[in-house]
Amino acid sequence: MQYLVSVINDTSELATPDEMTAIDAFNDRLQADGNWVFAAGLGSPSSATVIDNRAGEAMITDGPFLESKEYIVGFWIIEAPDLDVALKLAAGGSRACNRKVEVRPLLSE
């Protein structure tokens, strides 16, 4: 079972060097314990572009689809047998990156 752990940023601050070190250590642990699938940091919402091609004519809009004070600044995809394990791992992630995180299951099949 895989879970998306989104990192929620509520300031305009980027990760500090200390936070980066903690995140690296956390990632190493995820890999060593076999919970690692993928992780990445994201550019700020101002770097987003929304595209809507449902009508067959691509509409391009500058900026994120939702303007919000809180936004996703990065994410992990982790492997965990159930939500209890996923929440424990996510708690470690939140501590490491010093931000709140949201946990959502990836739908299987």
């Binding site: 079972m1 047998p81 159930d82 939500l83 209890d84 929440l87 946990v103 959502r104 299951p105 739908l107 299987s108 099949e109």
Partner: protein, 408 residues
């Protein structure tokens, strides 16, 4: 006929959670377990009057429910085999069996009270799955529309499946925190019954208090060595023992000091006192429910309000403040202090809590009472006004109004 109805009611009380739990384990799906169990009870209502009560009602219900579930799964698996498989609830046996506490019903309780579910949802799900209350009953108890309650429960079951909330008893590391979460749910159900909110409701909801006691008793059977479980049960029993003395015929709340102690339920008090003594004998640092139970034991030991051992009450509150330094506990401690050191000393403590408790009716009620005792009628009247404005319980509002109107 009467016997059959009684047998069904008893089976519903004793077997509902067991049947739901056994089916959830067997089929890995709360939804199927709930529906099949409800249908098995409906079948019992139909069949038992004609066929007689089976020698083992629980066994009969479980077998019937399993057959219903299998039928339903067969019917559905023809349609969407793969999807069903994918949605099976996650269930694994811990490597080390938890021994004495290995009961299917515990898994069910811990799943329903999972911290990833909203508190209201945990309450509703526990009452439905473990307590066997119907959705309309739960909706009525919490004054929400049936459809809204149905939706809340359906969403919770979907989240349990999709996010894979496990169906198991937490590991020893997590057990204390998770157990305290379960007790919070039960205490919330009890309090809602004991001090129901809303202008149109009965001030006391015995269905909810009794259900909370029944579920706490169940957990006590499953975890007999947990001190806080014993403490919460004792606290509920000692509170419930005073239920008839607590509200007057005209629907007014009667304060502890003015209650007719002759109407207290002596059997419940004896049972509560036994539990409190058991915890004292255990010589383990008590948690908050055990201390609250002990405070209630002191009150219920006094045959006359004037015989109350207030220094003991204050000492217990001191203990409680150390583990739970919340302003509400400080307020209750101050009320006890007034009985020893007088209303002036208590009032100065209470006044210091204003910043944190200005929106809490009990804060204003306590101030009103202390000011009244100090002869400061005008200030007392204002505090009563504020308390009445904030109180949500009809009996409490009536009580506060009477006290205000008695001021000279």
């Amino acid at each position: 006929m009467i016997d059959v109805r009684e047998a069904i009611t008893r089976a519903h009380h004793e077997e509902w959670a067991r049947v739901v739990a056994a089916l959830t384990r067997r089929f890995g799906d709360l939804d199927i377990a709930e529906e099949a169990t409800a249908e098995a009870f409906a079948t019992a209502v139909e069949r038992w009057p004609a066929d007689g009560i089976p020698p083992s009602p629980g066994g009969w219900l479980t077998t019937t429910a399993k057959r219903i579930a299998i039928d339903r799964i067969r019917r559905e698996s023809k349609r969407d085999d793969k999807q069903k498989q994918a949605q099976m609830l996650y269930d694994d046996d811990p490597a080390e069996p938890p021994g004495a506490i290995d009961d299917e019903r515990l898994r069910l309780i811990f799943t329903c009270c999972h911290p990833a579910l909203a508190m209201q949802t945990r309450v509703a799900l526990t009452l439905r799955m473990v307590g066997g209350l119907t959705v309309p009953e739960i909706a009525r108890a919490f004054l929400v529309q049936e459809t809204a309650m149905e939706q809340r429960i359906t969403r919770a079951k979907a989240k349990i499946k999709t996010a894979r909330i496990p169906y198991r008893v937490p590991s020893a590391d997590d057990l204390p925190a998770r157990m305290s979460g379960v007790l919070t749910v039960l205490f919330l159900v009890f309090n809602e019954g004991y001090l129901a909110t809303g202008p149109g409701t009965d001030p006391l909801r015995h269905d909810l208090t009794e259900e909370a006691i029944r579920l706490t008793r169940l957990i006590r059977t499953l975890m007999p060595h947990d001190g806080e479980v014993a403490g919460l049960l004792a606290l509920m029993l000692l509170t419930q023992a005073r239920r008839t003395a607590r509200v007057s015929a005209s629907g007014q709340l009667i304060a502890l000091g003015e209650q007719d102690r002759g109407t207290w339920d002596t059997a419940l008090i004896a049972e509560g006192h036994r539990l409190v003594r058991e915890r004292l004998a255990a010589r383990v640092a008590p948690g908050r429910y055990q201390i609250l139970a002990a405070i209630n034991a002191v009150h219920t030991s006094a045959r006359d309000a004037r015989d109350t051992d207030w220094s003991q009450v204050v000492a217990l509150y001191d203990q409680l403040v150390r583990i739970d330094p919340s302003p509400v506990i400080a307020l209750n401690r101050a009320i006890a202090v007034a009985e020893i050191d007088g209303p002036q000393v208590a009032l100065s403590t209470v006044d210091r809590l204003e910043g944190k408790l200005a929106g809490y009716h009990a804060y204003h009620a306590a101030r009103a009472d202390l000011l009244r005792r100090l002869g400061r009628s005008q200030e007392s009247r204002e505090a009563y006004d504020k308390a009445i404005e904030l109180a949500g319980n009809t009996a409490e509002t009536a009580y506060l109004t009477r006290r205000r109107d008695q001021l000279g």
